[in-house]
Each structure stands twice: as structure tokens, then as C-alpha cells.
């Protein structure tokens, strides 16, 4: 069965610190992976996506993610967070044979001064 797991429901980091949000996936085929961000009372916005090729993908606002087939992971990183990065981040899996996307439970990021 295809699934995606975000083990951390909440993460708190200091402004200017580095960030890693974890994502593990389970799939039987070729996964297509995404990270979305949801700001309060707003819809979901795509941060980055991975289909194939270079396992490190760059996204908007300085975010990047690294795909690891051996670890079944797609962790999101940022070198230096800003208070405006406070939001909920979703790791999303889409199988090549599927059509809709499976969402992780989300990680709520709080950036503190």
C-alpha cells in the first residue's frame, strides 16, 4: 500500500536556524513526491516536487528536499528559517499508476525569535 508518514506533528526552531522536516514514504512503484505548505486560513501551495533525476530538488523560498530511495525518505530542508516560514508543511505522494495524491498528516512549524 502507498502511504506517506510525517513523524513530527510539531517542530519549533529559532529564527535563523536550519530546518529539517522529515517524510517517509511507502510505495511499490515509482513515487512522485511533493512538499506543500499551508499558511493559516489559506490553501496549499507547492514548495517543490521530485519526479526523477537529481535527488536534491530546489524549491521556492530557499527550501530544498532530498529524495532517498534506500531510506524511502523525502526530507525537507532550509538553511535559515524566517518567522514567515511558520506554517503547516505536508509531504505528498503520488504513484505513477495513481491519480490522486496521498497526504501526510502534516508538520506544524513554528519559528520563534
Amino acid at each position: 500500500a502507498q502511504s506517506v508518514t510525517q513523524p513530527d506533528a510539531r517542530v519549533t526552531v529559532s529564527e535563523g536556524a536550519s530546518l529539517q522536516l522529515r517524510c517517509k514514504y511507502s510505495s511499490s512503484g515509482t513515487p512522485y513526491l511533493f512538499w506543500y505548505v499551508q499558511y493559516p486560513r489559506q490553501g496549499l501551495q507547492l514548495l517543490l516536487k521530485y519526479y526523477s533525476g537529481d535527488p536534491v530538488v530546489q524549491g521556492v523560498n530557499g527550501f530544498e528536499a532530498e529524495f532517498s530511495k534506500s531510506n524511502s525518505s523525502f526530507h525537507l530542508r532550509k538553511a535559515s528559517v524566517h518567522w514567515s516560514d511558520s506554517a503547516v508543511y505536508f509531504c505528498v505522494l503520488r504513484m505513477d499508476s495513481g491519480t490522486y495524491q496521498r497526504f501526510g498528516t502534516g508538520t506544524k512549524l513554528q519559528v520563534v525569535p
Binding site: 486560513r41 490553501g43 496549499l44 507547492l46 490522486y100 495524491q101 496521498r102 497526504f103 502534516g106
Partner: protein, 113 residues
């Protein structure tokens, strides 16, 4: 490009009343998806259409929920005899069939009293 439009943004209904949620996909996108977001269940897939035809409604509750796409410019999600447990944010997304990225609307927050 106005993005995916969802109306209303907020809806309050009494228990037992009907609620109809509207979604206008991005022009030219052939696939429309509906999701439900709650704190307890997270983001759940409900149903999707391709070229206005219903393709997969495996996430739809078997009773009281129905979705339609009468033309390429809008889709509706109807909930009959609403119950408090239907309270959620309902998200609509669209995508070009040749793309893997879905574009989300801001959602409709449904509150059933």
C-alpha cells in the same frame, strides 16, 4: 490566472440542512479533485473528475455526499442532511492532465451546528 476559486469561503449550516460547495478550476485544466481536511483525519481525498466525467469517488462517504461537474468551468460538492462531523475545510484542486502538480483553491470552511 485567478487560480482555483472556491465559494463560499465559509458556510454555516444547521444540522440536517443541505450544503453545496462550488469550485471553479483553472481554465484549461481537465482534472478536478475534492479533498476534506480535518484536524483529526488530516487531508483526505474524496473524489475526482477528468474531462467532467467522474473517475474515482473512493473517498466519498457512501451516504449524503455527492459531487458533480456539469461543465468544464465548475464542480459542486453537495452534502445532504449535514451532520456536525461533516464540519471541515473542503479543498478543491485542479491540474492539467499532463502534469503532476495540483493547484489548490483556498478551501471552503463548513461548520455544521
Amino acid at each position: 490566472n485567478a487560480g482555483v476559486i472556491q465559494t463560499p469561503r465559509h458556510k454555516v449550516t444547521g444540522k440536517g440542512q443541505e450544503a453545496t460547495l462550488w469550485c471553479e478550476p483553472i481554465s484549461g485544466h481537465s482534472a478536478v479533485f475534492w479533498y476534506r481536511q480535518t484536524i483529526v483525519q488530516g487531508l483526505e481525498f474524496l473524489t475526482y473528475f477528468r474531462n467532467q466525467a467522474p473517475i474515482d469517488d473512493s473517498g466519498m462517504p457512501k451516504e449524503r455526499f455527492s459531487a458533480q461537474m456539469p461543465n468544464q468551468s465548475h464542480s459542486t460538492l453537495k452534502i445532504q442532511s449535514t451532520q456536525p462531523q461533516d464540519s471541515a475545510v473542503y479543498l478543491c484542486a485542479s491540474r492539467d492532465w499532463g502534469d503532476y502538480e495540483q493547484y489548490f483553491g483556498p478551501g471552503t470552511r463548513l461548520t455544521v451546528l
